[in-house]
Symmetry: C2
Subunit: 346 residues, 2 copies
């Protein structure tokens, strides 16, 4: 990663034909990022603005192309990903216009901008940077098993499945901790988290032997500067395809506290419908017992994604989840992450 945490840039976000519901990265950056949002590019919604579609976020105009932006922009961020993570040729015109206007381009695609000869040569010509956040650094290595030596309390969001909200929960916990006067930071492990924070390792793209090491490296890097680090978890420990990533993050982080993230009502692993979601007790037992030989940890709180429920249903689901866990639980997006911060018992 070449972008730097803490900088305030003026960014435009490309989200053609997908804003807001299929633009997870765009929405994450708008909701949680520190950059100024100059405009969102979505040719299907041009003329409206962000808050016409989403509440409780910063507003920005939606335009049909980069050329239609009449303010200065420092960077154009690709805020969507087609299935397969390729580069959609319908974006090229906007990307090239942005480069000509002196903008860096930031993407989290499987397709690396830096391997696109046309974009590389145009970027060189205009002195701008192409940032592929999903390309791992070259100097990653194996874990030393020492992430527990940092001063910060390390918490990790673990899940019952993919796409349950582990990144969002981590971000909400960081925010709530800061509001409670705790010096907290996110450890970003996926492309959206990396775009929001401006640094991080894309754990799902590193060499499998370095999975734990790539998490440890980030914790060692900043762990003495904060009181609380919240590691963005990935996948689930029972995922037929992605459990390796989950397991590496668990052991690499050596997190003292685990926050178990779940979606109300989900019954099977997303995309692997033959694999039923087991009991919440099963997850607690698996995460804790798998960590135990390496470091001491426990599930200390639950985060429930209740997006598909109404307010009454959500409160009821959260109460049931808290009962199942025997621990504090909440939906940190709908309600407040303070409950989880209290669960960390700092």
């Amino acid at each position: 990663m070449t972008t730097t945490a803490g900088s305030t840039r003026r960014i435009a976000i490309l989200a053609h034909e997908k804003f807001p519901d299929r633009a997870k990265t765009a929405l994450g950056v708008i909701r949680y990022g520190g950059d100024e949002i100059v405009a969102v590019l979505d040719r299907d919604n041009a003329g409206s603005s962000v808050t016409d579609h989403v509440s409780d976020v910063r507003d920005a105009p939606i335009v049909d192309s980069f050329a239609a932006i009449d303010n200065d922009v420092d960077a154009l961020l690709i805020g969507i990903a087609p299935i397969g993570g390729g580069f959609d040729e319908s974006w090229r015109d906007d990307v090239e216009t942005a480069i000509r206007a002196g903008c860096d381009i930031i993407a989290g695609l499987h397709y690396f901008l830096n391997e696109d000869e046309e974009l590389v040569s145009l970027a060189e010509e205009h002195g701008v940077e192409l940032v592929d956040v999903r390309k791992p650094k070259d100097d990653l290595t194996v874990s030393q098993g020492i992430a527990d030596q940092v001063d910060a309390h390390v918490a990790l969001t673990v899940g019952t499945d993919c796409s349950v909200g582990k990144m969002t929960v981590a971000l909400e916990v960081v925010e709530a901790a800061k509001e409670a006067g705790i010096d907290a930071a996110l450890i970003p492990t996926g492309q959206t988290g990396i775009m929001i924070e401006g640094w991080g390792n894309p754990i799902d793209r590193v060499v499998s032997d370095f999975t734990a090491g790539a998490v440890e490296e980030m914790i060692l890097d900043v762990g003495d500067e904060y009181d609380l680090l919240v590691v963005e978890g990935q996948g689930t420990i029972i995922h037929p395809a992605y459990s390796a990533v989950t397991c590496g993050i668990l052991h690499g982080s050596m997190a003292e506290s685990l926050i178990l993230c779940h979606v109300a009502g989900r019954e099977a692993i997303h995309g692997y419908e033959d694999v039923s979601i087991p009991s919440i007790d099963t997850y607690v037992e698996l995460y804790e017992s798998l960590a135990a030989p390496v470091f001491d940890t426990e599930i200390v709180a639950g985060a429930l994604n209740t997006r598909k429920l109404d307010d009454d249903g959500a409160q009821q689901a959260v109460d049931t989840y808290a009962d199942e866990l025997g621990l504090p639980a909440t939906d940190p997006v709908r309600f407040d992450a303070a409950t989880i911060v209290e669960g960390l018992d700092l």
Copy 2:
């Protein structure tokens, strides 16, 4: 991988200054490989022969350089790896002499021969191939969670630590199964296994998201051609650095039977002395419970590495291990892997 299973080549093995004790790959290929061994290169042992150093293996002369071999050779195999997996410049003369003699070069180093301009251009000139077995294929992808659909019974060697003998056990089980009339094959997941079999995916080098998928792909490829596949396991599920690889192999293989491999007397994770080896029961519980939500499996037998014990001590240690497991156990190198094959209950 471009080499093909089943071919019989005439190979020389480079093992300078490390044969036999620090030449795990060389020894594995001599003991279990199907290729004819023309010579071993070790400048410290030149003039002796393989069986002067190791018993129960095929003999071959040990020479000080490739130039000293007076037979035809099809390929030179790098049978050692320095710490870090680099290319030792003291090997270059032998490698270049081999290329000039029309030999393919096969290596499992972190350093890829195909990125060494000098070797690449020499290989092109002489029409030979540089095979980096540790370089993953480009077309790997995520697991579909369907390895359990093949006709073969799939067994997996899992371990209490790294370097306990999971590859050796898998190879011995395949051999014993064949002797019992079962059509069996190894699923190679590491560089030595790949060199022995002439195909396979180097699981520790694949992108973490594809860990399970790279195992599944191999099982789907050959799973209907055999009655038994024995997957070469890696690491241990409680390894501070490598557990991601272990976890991905477990879920990717969907193995019906697990063989728990252990070294008699080992008390801590190799290289991570703060992490004590927990009870054998703990491993059984962890491997089985982690697999359970995805597929049905159980530990069916134990393999104990008793290399450091005398015969009496070994038998006693095996008996104790069998008692702890409540299952058949043996040291398949010192004794016989038939016990384990029986445990598979095919």
